[in-house]
């Protein structure tokens, strides 16, 4: 039982020390790569994560930027 203190409170109930619980119940489900890709919207400082395409500030001014009257604060 290495370091694991087990107290039998009754025949059917076993209480474990907090050390025993430290390993965690392990209830996370494995995330699939395509699932992660659909979820991951953040763009790294080096541009990793950007969708395919190209642009520059001048082009942007007339396009998307022109439609943005108010940026969310």
């Amino acid at each position: 039982m290495r370091n694991r203190r087990v107290a039998a409170a009754s025949a059917s109930l076993v209480l474990l020390s907090s050390a025993a619980l430290a390993e965690g119940p392990g209830l996370g489900r494995a995330a699939a790569p395509d699932e992660i890709a659909s979820w991951d919207i953040s763009i790294a400082p080096d541009g990793a994560g950007l969708p395919p395409g190209r642009g520059d500030p001048e082009t942007g001014k007339g396009g998307l930027y022109g439609k943005m009257r108010r940026m969310p604060r």
Binding site: S18, L21, A22, G24, P25, G26, L27, G28, R29, A30, A31, E35, I36, W39, D40, I41, S42, I43, A44, P45, R70, P72, R73
Partner: protein
Amino acid sequence: MREPGSPFVGYGQPSRFEAKVVRIFTSAPGTTGTGASRTPHHLLNGAITPSGLHFERHHSGIPDIDPDRHRLLIHGLVKRPLVFTLEALARYPMVSRIAFIECGGNSGALYQKNAVAGGVQALHGLVSCAEWTGVRLADLLDEAGVDPKAQWILAEGADAAGMSRSVPMVKVMDDAILALYQNGERIRPSNGYPLRLLLPGYEGNMNVKWLRRIKVTQGPTMTKDETSKYTISLPDGKALQFVFPIEAKSVITQPSPGLVMKGAGLYEISGLAWSGYGKIGTVDVSADGGTSWAPAALQQPVLAEALTRFRIAWRWNGGPAILQSRATDESGYVQPTRALLIAERGMKTIYHFNGIASWAVGENGEVTHVYA
């Protein structure tokens, strides 16, 4: 009372005579709930903020999230990317702690040249304190298996803004909590239902609400809210980035503007002090604009990264007075005067104002915000 009282209700509400104890809020034009609401500290006492009065700062309103459909993804530099349901998270070992959350922009009006008319709610109402209960993020990251070269995480909310912030791994592994409960009940939608990141002592914006994604990264992601926003612009054109813990600070809540003193006599001066660097050590109070100071009593227990109530008796002689409080935290850091803070930081920012605030008491008993 000679008549039987009212019947039971499923969820209790304050007395109808307390209807004025509410948050005040402003929303950006053309948006839904993009703005902030502020805690009425002048009408509260103790150190815990009722959940319905906890301040709010939303970047795109309050999402309506079904906990049975909500998922948390942990991915990036981990051995095993994982998805968690709320039901699964609720089975992990839980911890509780009392912690303040303060918006990085709280008290920002005090950077302005002239003292803005307002009270503790309008000027300093973006700070609140609650008991938060949830799962240690470190436990979940251990399950996912963090790559040794990962030094940061990105935490992202499920609101329409996808509000996200980068957090150093050292803080995450130290005391970050994925909070499910606030003051004993499930977190209110306005504070991140069903899941909120709690980073005790760190500026409010980093305590990401409606948490849906944790990406483990090597460096910071440099999101909008840590580059163009929540950085401190200095007089020389440079900016301080990643100013995380809230510096020691205090404010007098009673008396304060909106509360009228009714004649000379004995009053209790009371207020709140807090520090993102641990416990409050002492709070000194002045009634003469900082010429003389006396130590206030601190309400026990004094907890690290939690609001601490201070109190001191004051005999008002009916003449003009200027009330100030000055907090010192356990690190020995002393809350600076406004003049000292501005000498260092300038006035180009709205963030992390922790200078000493001043309330002037007039002979008519009215209390106003002044610089002194």
